[in-house]
């Protein structure tokens, strides 16, 4: 008797709908076991992680703040992944976008520049992110170099470049030698939506990006081409779709969104450029994209959920002395379960009795 995997005649839509929920459920069970191993009460730990942040307006705003970059990046990544182009370097594109936009903020500091500064910063961030993403895309299209490895290597390069700038030429002279630029001027800062709160304009931009992603994928020829190239490359070739062009396009869009998310993060919640502006948004966004099943609305929900784990993780660290790395373990396990459950959309398990008889 053995358990075998068998291809379904057609994809199961029921499983496609419930699989993220099953994945989250399994993750919660696994996390409870992990909490118990760490010597914490699983019930109260899960409460601190997932319930407490939902109970006050400060944490709710904070969830939206954290979800903003996650959703923006993940929408771009989902376009790449749908087209079977593996952009793994969104973290680097995020950092370069933050650097490019900060350049203008640093240059105009104290010059009394007008309200054009912030929009120009956002555009610069998006342009820099797109250009940075085009490096691995071009290397893939022109030379066949694996975009997975090249886009990832550029994350380390971007990280070191940012580090150089804030420790060297851009360091705030009045900053007590801390590696950071001066606080940005008000015209170079993303405005908050609620007086005295943390929720900022970026959340609205993220919602616009979700809507634009949905329109692009659902209503346009380009969106159709992206999906066909990824799902059925042979059919796409017969259809005359240029897959190289789509690789460049999806990488450029995803780099632009990551870059804009980077400058929004720096000009908004952080307020100045410094190392460590991202707790791995570019990598967590990969999980968001898959948990949201590469669908814009799904990504919005998944982004809010992953943001909840960041906030819950911080609260659990303060309230229960649970190490912050548990959040990353949680996110990794969640991605495993999401992928495993998704397998059941295309396959099913069957028990086979004595299938290996002598021929």
């Amino acid at each position: 008797m053995q358990l075998v995997l068998e291809k379904r005649a057609e994809r199961s839509n029921t499983i496609a709908l419930v699989s993220p929920l099953i994945a989250i459920g399994l993750t919660l069970v696994t996390m409870s076991i992990l909490f118990a191993i760490l010597g914490k009460n699983p019930i109260s730990a899960l409460g601190v992680y997932f319930i407490d942040p939902l109970t006050d307006s400060y944490s709710l705003q904070e969830i939206a703040v954290k979800a903003t970059p996650l959703v923006m990046i993940a929408i771009g990544l989902s376009l790449c992944y749908l087209a079977n182009a593996w952009n793994i370097g969104a973290e680097g594109q995020f950092l370069i976008g933050a650097v490019a936009g900060s350049w203008l903020a640093v240059k105009t500091q104290g010059t009394g520049a007008g309200p054009w500064v912030l929009p120009a910063m956002l555009l610069l961030g998006a342009a820099a992110g797109a250009l940075y993403a085009l490096i691995p895309a071009l290397c893939k299209v022109k030379f066949g170099a694996s975009e997975i490895l090249t886009s990832l290597m550029l994350v380390y390069v971007a990280d070191l470049f940012l580090d150089y700038l804030v420790r060297g030429p851009w360091r705030d002279p009045a900053g007590f030698n801390f590696p950071t630029t001066a606080e940005f001027d008000p015209v170079a800062t993303v405005p908050v939506l609620i007086e005295g709160g943390r929720l900022h304009l970026g959340a609205i931009i993220a919602l616009v990006v979700v809507a634009a992603g949905a329109v692009l994928l659902g209503k346009t020829i380009k969106g159709f081409e992206i999906r066909v190239v990824g799902a059925a490359p042979r059919a796409a070739r017969f259809g005359g779709f240029n897959s190289n062009q789509l690789v460049l396009l999806t990488f450029a869009i995803s780099g632009a969104l990551a870059g804009m998310a980077g400058i929004i993060e720096v000009a908004g919640p952080v307020g100045h450029l410094q190392p460590g502006i991202s707790p791995g948004y570019g990598f967590t966004a990969i999980i968001v994209a898959f948990l949201g099943r590469l669908n814009p609305v799904g990504i919005l929900i998944a982004g809010l959920f992953l943001a909840l784990t960041f906030i819950g993780g911080e609260q659990a660290q303060i309230a229960m002395k649970i190490p912050l790395d548990v959040t990353k373990v949680f996110q990794g396990i969640l991605l495993f379960y999401v992928l495993a459950c998704d397998s059941l959309i295309l396959y099913r398990f069957r028990l086979i009795f004595a299938s290996r008889q002598v021929a």
């Binding site: 075998v4 995997l5 170099a145 390069v157 150089y164 790395d325 548990v326 396959y347």
Partner: protein
Amino acid sequence: MELIEAIILAVLAASTPLLLAATGELVTERAGVLNLGVEGMMIVGAACGFGGAWLTGSIIIGALCGIVAGTLLSLVFAMMTLGLAVNQVATGLALTILGIGLSGLIGAGFVGERISPAPHLHLPVLTDIPLVGRILFGEDAFVYLSLALVVSVWLFLYRTRAGLVLRAVGDNHVSAHALGYPVLKIRMFAVMFGGACAGLAGAYLPLAYTPFFIPGMTAGRGWIALALVVFASWRPGRLVVGAYLFGAVTILQLHAQGWGVGIPSQFMSSLPYLATVIVLVLISRARTGGSTAPAALGTVFVPDR
């Protein structure tokens, strides 16, 4: 002369983790499986390796802990990609994300602790030969182990029947299955071998390279190892050359900082990553006449029954 000797010794040490991890991944990929989780398995190997050595005082037990940790993680990967036919790229990424978290969690208790690193060999007479003695006989045992491993893998792949079968599985799993070879089982062992090597490669860092553990100490070496496999065109011999070239770039970068070259240290530090990109481009461009990658690399296999 002493400076050159010191540099060569440092290059050998810096290359060893790359060579170990890349050798494991080469076998995995030769069986047709692309495991992008090398960085994750390495970083957990580093935490477990240091933990094992710190608790027991034994470098060997530390190394074994690293190997076991890497193998266990690779089994998770095997369950997902072989058992459940999940996309290998996505699963590899998940493995790295999980590994970074696990490593931080496991290693949290050891940060700031030190151990005495793996001793350098000292063979009477041999090690004292001028010029070559310390290079050939004066490194830590892992350096020689890594070379022995590459040679064994080469012998296995090209001189044994089992190696032939493994390569056949990587090149055409449908035919190999039709001939009656257990494709999934062979792939599982190849993945586990890759995991064991990655775990050992990670453990090498705190056990021999530096005598302490810091979070994130693999610093992308797992990804560079993956690039090395491409650089080597899936051949063990070229892997040795590639790993030592990259070790040399790493050491050049460190020494240039020491010599006070007027380039900011961050630019020097980004050299190994930029070198990886450039090497990938050059290698891929040189191979326009058709890829030398195993034909079934990265594709899922669900046997018909």
